[in-house]
Assembly symmetry: C2
Homo-oligomer: 345 residues x 2
């Protein structure tokens, strides 16, 4: 079996856009399964904007370290089926997640705590729910969305107006749908007209605009004439400035990341003084720092998916070798919902 296992490795750190040339698909030898370990055959793996940050020699402080060159890419949540087990509670045939990333097989230590604290080896309840949902709404994406609403106090709040940027992205579309379920008025922005239509027609947001359709401030003022109370920021830069300008007093902002800055020099918001003059709170956070919310999130999201109030949207690439292209497409805004790679059945 060992000569049938492959892993994607970083061959060089991309400058600007990610290309297939920046990676190499190499055969790897799998170690013997030792006591307390399982062999997992990958079925699905994940493609996230955050990976782009780890494809830099100068990965930002406090974030996960850069992927080492010419080594298997660890720390990416992955779904698989146990093929061989020497660990109690992890039977052959069970669907699990782990964090061993972009490879066809992995020998995983059942007691090991994953780098991100979230996806240590765990058997998943796939009864009535598709396994890959655990890479999206039921997994890291769901946790990031839910934790974002949590840090800005939007879970048990009275109805507010929330602006969700990058709303057609894997996390954004969940924030939109969760916020709707929690009673808020949702204003969404995205990068294409098609995504805007989809957000309005399929996802059911209250208002939506294409970020290219004129100055953000004007689009936002049209969608939320009385301003916004909450902002979910996954973009930074001009979006954050527009939010600061549109915020009502005592508004709250979740800083989930700034995908707009990952491939260029970041610029801070020039109107940050408005945070002072309007008593605004800005909270940066990482979903993986809120693992204590995972059970609560999964319970609610499972129910919302099953009763149809949360739509699961995926963009799927087939074959491990397609992961780099999937990442490039994601960064370029060409994917909708959760971006996934189907590695095997």
């Amino acid at each position: 079996m060992s000569n049938e296992a492959y892993a994607l490795q970083v061959s060089r750190y991309p400058v600007g856009q990610v290309g297939a040339d920046d990676f190499e698909l190499v055969p790897v030898d799998l170690p013997e399964v030792a006591d307390g370990q399982v062999l997992v055959r990958t079925t699905w793996t994940s493609v996230d904007p955050g990976l782009r940050l780890r494809l830099r020699a100068d990965a930002p402080e406090g974030y996960f370290p850069a992927f080492p060159l010419h080594q298997p890419m660890d720390g990416i949540v992955t779904i698989g089926v146990i093929e061989e087990s020497r660990a109690e509670g992890f039977p052959v045939g069970a669907t699990v997640w782990h964090s061993y990333g972009w490879r066809t097989h992995a020998v995983v230590d059942a007691g090991e705590v994953a780098m991100n604290g979230l996806a240590s080896l765990r058997v998943l309840d796939v009864d009535g729910i598709a396994p890959q949902t655990y890479l999206g709404p039921m997994g890291p994406m769901g946790l990031t969305a839910y934790a974002g609403l949590h840090v800005i106090g939007a879970i048990d709040d009275e109805p507010r107006t929330i602006w969700v940027s990058a709303a057609a992205g894997a996390v954004g579309v969940l924030v939109c749908q969760m916020a709707r379920q929690l009673g808020h008025r949702v204003v969404a922005s995205a990068g294409t007209d098609e995504k805007v239509r989809w957000l309005l027609d399929e996802i059911g947001v209250d208002a939506a605009f294409d970020r290219h359709d004129g100055p953000l401030g004007e689009s936002l003022a049209q969608a939320a004439p009385e301003g916004i109370d909450l902002y979910f920021d996954a973009v930074g830069g001009d979006h954050l400035e527009a939010a600061l300008a549109a915020m009502r007093p005592f508004g709250r902002i979740a800083l989930c990341g700034s995908v707009g800055d990952y491939e260029r020099e970041p610029a801070g918001p020039r109107n940050l003084f408005l945070a002072t003059s309007k008593n605004l709170t800005m909270r940066g956070y990482r979903g993986s720092s809120y693992v204590d919310l995972l059970d609560e999130m999964q319970r609610r999201v499972r129910a919302w998916i099953q009763d149809g109030s949360v739509t699961v949207k995926e963009t799927v690439y087939d074959g491990l070798d397609q992961a780099p292209r999937a990442l490039a497409d994601l960064m370029a805004g060409r994917t909708t919902g959760k971006t996934l790679v189907r590695v095997g059945d």
Copy 2:
């Protein structure tokens, strides 16, 4: 009496530094004191960095409006003595504060709510405490300092390391002293060597540095080798960037203003992504939005002043006509502690 009353008015909005030429001292006619009103003779008035923001045709949204040209300057907290009263509870001879600002006399409506919500007409308890203290530690400065510690959860917190910027300023020096009293380790920065020595020797901070002594990040790393948990920002720009870089996970920042930006184009922090990667909270706030903390603050500060654990530091200018020079000196960093104008006895 009316021909003995004077007011300072803005004659033009200064570009860059404030100059005496930007103001005019003009005689004003005082109205008759009507029912529910008092005539107050000014003894002390206040000079604050925030005034600079109101000396701009384009005062930032959400802040107080610009001072109108050729009109008395309202909305500046001022101490005086009642000379004539037709309002119950406001006897002649009582020391009061109000918000009628830079003038020698004012006829004040006892029922009127001040623009900033704080200094509506109020009789002050000056027993054992100097009246002008109510413009500093017992007034807006004390409230701004205390509210800043409140918004970052530093009042009833376990001991933390806090960096206080502009620490020799009216608010900064209070934040330093309050934080010390609340059990925190205080790292202070200021703009001159003399201020640094004073902070160390007289105010008793744990560490201090001159912001001109090399890169801020290095000075901060030397003063707080293990990083900081809390940051009190009154400067913005490079200070905020240094704080974001030095913050420990889940650190909290109070954004009190960005005096460094009031006379030039503001620049946002380029490393704001660290807020996400380190789970940081940034809270902008205005002291005047936390009037509900005033009584609690005054009770504690009065006790701290009286037992000597809070030092009151003032830079005093004599004569109403000196107020513009006082503001220019304040903005240029030439004053220490609370900047005051003594208008009369």
